[in-house]
């Protein structure tokens, strides 16, 4: 296991190198159009590490990305392309807010209860398309894609007709009672206990996937259904387990995001962090341990881009272009399946073995 982790990390480091090159490729022309080109690069690359607050921003942004990335990883590992993570994230946030607004809980049970409800309700958006696939063989990808929007509108309906604070000037829930919010960790940042949950979740997820019998069985079902039925594994059950687990994690992510950062629930569109999770899962090559650095990296990019847009006359859309280019570069097999690259990875594995 350590060998594969080391090789994986090397691959990851090299991935990062490619990314830096891509960033430079997109950013250098932009930088040259600015009075101080080096400031552009400095701000984007080093800016996010400039202050505690900015580093806090990275962790804040990485928290939901880690959780949704983990959720997507588990779902994809079971061989399903269920995109319900986005819907689960939204529903999870909504349900946690609803718990906070509607239930008269106080004290230390309040937050866990809201997160639990968020996870349970949120998981629906993954479970429904998953179930329709397992039970009827209907495409989980398309079903989840459209049902995400159906869940969104159902959620907005609920927000408008049940949770809405009529005194607020926008469509928002009532204020979430203080007992339900997550504790802040670091003065001057919004870093909350959710980040710890996210780290722990990724590590537990990795241990489950690689270190337990049911994790192994899920990987088998996901990578070779024929082999799974040869072994007599309960494929449907395992598939559903993964959808439920992924959905619970994604729902929990939404709950944590809302309770950690917001004082009211106000999403009237899909927040997009589920899509981020899918990107993270792919960058991490569907490995829960690598989800952590992948999410941190995307968050770092986001913060760097925000700093550019805020401090210089660089349009914020540049970040969208940079992220798209990075996604392509990182997944370009031409780079990562290149013989020279493969040889390097093999050498590392070989040295480990030799030692």
């Amino acid at each position: 296991m350590t060998r594969s982790i080391l090789a994986g990390l090397t691959e990851f480091a090299l991935t990062a190198l490619v990314i830096v090159l891509v960033i430079l490729a997109v950013l250098v022309p932009v930088a040259l159009s600015q009075p101080d080109p080096f400031e552009v690069l400095r701000l984007f690359v080093l800016g996010p590490f400039g202050t505690i607050r900015h580093m806090g921003n990275i962790l804040e942004a990485a928290t939901p990305a880690m959780m949704t990335g983990l959720a997507a990883t588990i779902i994809f590992r079971a061989g399903m392309f269920n995109l319900g993570v986005e819907g689960s994230f939204f529903l999870g946030g909504l349900a946690a807010a609803a718990t906070a607004v509607l239930l008269p809980l106080t004290g230390f049970v309040a937050t866990p209860a809201a997160i639990l409800v968020g996870a349970l309700v949120g998981s629906l958006a993954c479970i429904v398309p998953g179930y329709l696939r397992v039970r009827f063989g209907a495409s989980e990808m398309v079903n989840s894609l459209v049902l995400n929007f159906a869940f969104l509108f159902a959620g907005v309906y609920f927000l408008n007709y049940v949770l809405r604070d009529p005194n607020a000037g926008a469509l928002m829930s009532y204020k979430l009672p203080a007992d339900f919010t997550l504790d802040r960790l670091l003065q001057g940042t919004r870093l909350h206990t959710g980040v710890i949950i996210a780290f722990v979740a990724c590590i537990l997820g990795g241990i489950w996937l690689y270190g337990t019998r049911s994790g192994l069985n899920v990987r088998i079902v996901g990578s070779s259904p024929g082999f799974a039925s040869h072994l007599g594994l309960a494929s449907s059950k395992l598939l559903m387990q993964a959808q439920v687990a992924g959905g619970l994690i994604a729902g929990m992510a939404g709950a944590i995001e809302v309770l950690g950062l917001y004082s009211r629930f106000s999403w009237t569109a899909l927040p997009g962090l589920g899509w981020t999770g899918i990107t993270v899962a792919i960058l991490a090559r569907e490995n829960p341990f690598l989800v952590i650095p992948a999410a941190l990296f995307l968050a770092y990019l986001q913060v760097g881009g925000d700093m550019l847009a805020r401090n210089l006359d660089v349009p914020s859309e540049i970040v969208g272009l940079v992220t798209a280019a990075i996604l392509l570069a990182v997944t370009a097999a031409a780079i990562f399946r290149h013989p020279a690259f493969l040889r390097l990875i093999r050498d590392i594995k070989g040295q480990e073995r030799g030692a």
Binding site: N217, S224, H230, P339, K349
Partner: protein, 508 residues
């Protein structure tokens, strides 16, 4: 120009991008109008050489001369230009297309912007009549039997003014009568002036068909000789670089208890491969029962009811006395079934997971490997390393992906997993297909060993040598029924089985 060899390889070398050296310095000639066989162990470089000749791969060194002229290799129109057709080792028909569409694919007859479908169909009918290979031009390819698909492959290879036909292990999936028919067709083609390159692992086939043989070993040409000038032992030595001692099963009549018993078992299915009718058979401990039959005669149905993937429509199945008629797959495994499936990657293992994961798959609840829900990594590594050593699997380490192994080594690992413990019933479905001689010998030994340890063994194989070497009793399946139940005595030959397999005779 019509003189001299049709093809000459000169110092051809091939190193794949991943560093695998598949060929070095290969030089030999192919005589015009001959049937030329190429032999060699798995991975010797046979397919690679043929792909170079067909223009699918470019050589990293050396040159290929066609009609005495150096040829540009690996251009898209290479094969068409030189009149070369190839039947690939792994089928290359598009399953959702019709026979006609498959045959014309890549060189469609046109009228304006459309495919001229009448002309295309006529071409196929003509082709099939000319070469005496009967196919239904309008059938969807994936509805055809393997042998029929093979015919389509050959027609496709012949469809473009072909004068050199390459057949890469064409017999691996065929039954003996089908092989005999194929050989007759190939002889006809040679008579019509075609040059044929024929790859096979089976010596008697090579002998029956070819005039000349080239032996490759580890990417090098060991030699090219007329077959008349060498005997089998000599060729074996050339192929293996050593003599192979084939283990033979000591047949013994035994009064061990009956382990598996099927009484009048039938399934209902539209697919003949899944349909069996009125099958009754019993297998004792330490008995190997071999199933012969043309591919698609019900073997798949038989295996499915015996592994819980399908339930019989009628009849009863007992394993050690317990009724298993409605048992699902997990129950079969729990009751002691071990199963070596024919489709190694789709069913026997999972390509993208590690050797260790593959080796311990399905051992749920094994206390030695598991602590509660957690896997014991150390114990697993030890266990898997032991398996690798016991079965002589050539592998880098337990963390390698299964698909980094060669086919034969993957099969050995899968066998190691299935035969661990002491199974009560072993189903071995084409256990050595595509596996080299040494590995096959090892696997035969392990199957024999499993029987001696008390397993009832059901062996399904297209390789009649293997069947006769291992089986105590041979059942012949035809159209889902058992048409012969023969004790495997010394006089039983493949030729004797042929009539049953073709459904010409019935015995019981």
């Amino acid at each position: 120009m019509a003189e001299g060899p049709i093809v000459s390889f000169r110092q051809v070398g091939k190193t794949y991008p991943n560093g695998t050296v598949a060929l070095t310095d290969a030089s030999f000639d192919i005589r015009r109008g001959s049937i030329h066989a190429i032999c060699g162990e798995n991975g010797a470089g046979k397919s690679t050489l043929m792909k170079i000749l067909f223009g699918l791969e470019s050589p990293s060194a050396g040159q290929v001369f066609i009609d005495g002229a150096a040829a540009d290799t690996a251009t898209p129109d290479f094969a068409g230009k030189h009149g070369i057709g190839m039947v690939h080792q792994h089928f290359s028909l598009v399953p959702i297309l019709t026979v006609t569409e498959n045959i014309i694919l890549g060189h469609e007859p046109r009228s304006s912007i459309f495919i001229d479908r009448t002309k295309a169909r006529r071409q196929v009918v003509e082709l099939s009549e000319r070469f005496d290979l009967a196919v239904d031009p309008d059938a969807r390819t994936d509805t055809l039997s393997v042998a029929a698909q093979q015919k389509v492959e050959i027609l496709k290879a012949l469809s473009r003014d072909t004068r050199l036909l390459i057949l890469d292990e064409p017999t691996a999936v065929l039954s003996p009568p089908e092989i005999e028919e194929l050989f007759n067709r190939l002889r006809d083609l040679r008579a019509a002036g075609m040059t044929i390159l024929f790859i096979s692992h089976k010596l008697h086939e090579v002998r029956a068909l070819a005039e000349t043989v080239t032996v490759l070993r580890a990417g090098k040409v060991v030699g090219t000789t007329p077959l008349a000038e060498v005997d089998d032992a000599e060729i074996t030595r050339m192929v293996m670089g050593r003599d192979v001692d084939v283990p033979r099963r000591q047949r013994q009549t035994t009064s061990a208890p009956v382990v598996l018993e099927l009484a009048k078992v039938s399934t209902r299915s539209h697919d003949p491969a899944d349909r069996i009718e009125d099958i009754s058979l019993s297998i004792r401990a330490d008995e190997i029962v071999g199933i012969a039959g043309v591919d698609g005669s019900g073997q798949r149905g038989l295996v499915s009811v015996l592994s819980g993937l399908m339930h019989p429509a009628s009849g009863s199945i007992r394993l050690s006395g317990a009724d298993m008629s409605r048992a699902a797959a997990p129950a079969w495994r729990k009751a002691g079934l071990a199963y070596l499936p024919a489709d190694r990657y789709a069913q026997g293992g999972t390509a993208s997971l590690s050797l260790a994961d593959n080796a311990i798959a399905g051992t749920d609840g094994d206390k030695a490997l598991q602590w509660g829900p957690f896997l014991r990594r150390g114990a697993i590594r030890q266990r898997v390393q032991q398996m690798i050593a016991d079965y002589a699997v050539r592998a880098g380490g337990t963390g390698e992906r299964l698909d980094s192994l060669s086919g034969g080594n993957a099969q050995k690992l899968i066998a190691a997993r299935e035969l661990a413990g002491s199974p009560k019933l072993l189903i071995a479905d084409q256990p050595t297909r595509g596996v080299d001689v040494a590995a096959a010998a090892l696997l035969h030994g392990r199957i024999d060993q499993a029987a001696r340890n008390g397993a009832a063994v059901l062996l399904i194989t297209a390789d009649l040598d293997e069947l006769l070497r291992l089986a105590d009793r041979v059942l012949v399946l035809f159209n889902g029924r058992i048409v012969a139940d023969l004790a495997n005595h010394a006089g039983l030959t493949p030729a004797a089985l042929g009539p049953y397999m073709l459904g010409l005779e019935k015995a019981s």
